[in-house]
Symmetry: C2
Subunit: 207 residues, 2 copies
DNA sequence: CGGGCAACGGCAACTTCCTGCCACACTGGC
DNA sequence: GCCAGTGTGGCAGGAAGTTGCCGTTGCCCG
């Protein structure tokens, strides 16, 4: 009922056929560095009766490449939403099979695969709840455009180590507004401290 | 008298023979991601009359691989010192040829090569001054051992976004001491804000 | 044993950062 | 023009982070 898979490769090998066969796929991830997207993507083919939902953190929109990929998905009919909350990597197939990302063991991540209607029901409920509060990509993207335009310069001054006073002047912003932007950026990055924000920003290659 | 070299590769191609011939080499760098070390290193051979000085920021000692490399250099007779101050990448050959790192253009760095006794004299003076206040690797490393031992856990809690209060408890430290450690870490990373520290830490692959 | 000596951690003063509140300016629709 | 909606930035009060100071503790050495 519950199997542990030790690496992304193994998971891919083991479940690729399930993905192909599934008529409903729901997944959530913090970023795009997952097995699903790390390989040259098989062009997603959507027949009318297949529903794919994907949920991400706002941070991915800060990376132009990732953002482009998301829009591409959106284009071909995948439901893409942006979740304001932290979410663990989760995949649900046909409300039946659940895959949860687990510990990072060394460089590879472990996954737990459940083939159980009960587990699937519970997890689906949670997923749906998260899905409801998440915004559709296009909606979110519109409200996000502004921040994304400012982000590069914002990240630059942040990474340069200047203090808010200086940084705000640099960007011709009031200190208040500057901080508002920083707060938004941190939310987008899912960071609760500036240190963490720095790490995440670097992780996403934004600085 | 002054030549601009557009990339690290070009610099390497152009100056490798100078390095081989030089009897005195002095260089400074923030980290080890420089052309000198990015390639499979030609085993440095030191004949008795060749003097090599290298100066780095404390941050490099936080990365075990880099630290090991430094000690290796030290072993074969290179004078390695750790500078408490920010230093731009600088190379001086035989107090005659000076190479200064310049702007980052896209992904590659520009270098400026001077072949002038005057320039070399000035720069050498500054280099020597910085050299004097820098600590020999072994000395520094001893005083640094403690922080390095703590650093991984410190970075972990920092990167987890917890606030000092929580983090200190996590590490069984007083808040005061915790912050002392954070301050030391930031100094080691050459960071003046926690955001910057996060970026640097991630850059060095410490988180 | 007593006297440095270094690390610790509490305290306090200070700086930096965060955020709610509000007045102000700008904009688009009526 | 008027009005609602939105973004801005000052201000204030509070939270978080930074630093000097100092008493305490444990340790090494004479």
């Amino acid at each position: 009922m519950s199997t542990i898979v030790r690496s992304e490769e193994a998971l891919f090998a083991r479940t690729a056929h399930l993905f192909a066969a599934a008529s409903e796929v729901a997944c959530a991830a913090d970023d795009l560095n997952t097995w699903a997207t790390s390989k040259p993507r098989p062009r997603p083919q959507l027949h009318g009766d297949k529903r794919i939902r994907k949920m991400f953190r706002p941070g991915v929109l800060l990376d132009p490449r990732s953002a482009a990929h998301l829009h591409e998905l959106d284009q071909v009919g995948v439901d893409v939403r942006i979740s304001p909350d932290e979410i663990n990597e989760t995949i649900i197939l046909d409300r039946r099979i659940v895959i949860l990302a687990g510990e990072l063991v060394g460089a590879t991540r472990e996954f737990r695969v459940f083939d159980s209607a009960d587990v699937a029901r519970s997890v689906s409920t949670l997923y749906d709840a998260a899905w409801r509060v998440a915004s559709p990509l296009r909606t979110y993207d519109r409200s996000f455009a502004e921040l994304r335009a400012l982000a590069p310069r914002l990240l630059e001054v942040l990474a340069s180590g200047s203090k808010d006073e200086t940084a705000a002047r640099e960007l011709n912003l009031g200190v208040r507004t500057y901080r508002r932007r920083v707060a938004e950026l941190m939310t987008a990055l899912g960071a609760t401290s500036r240190f963490q924000a720095g790490v995440r920003a670097r992780e996403l290659g934004l600085v």
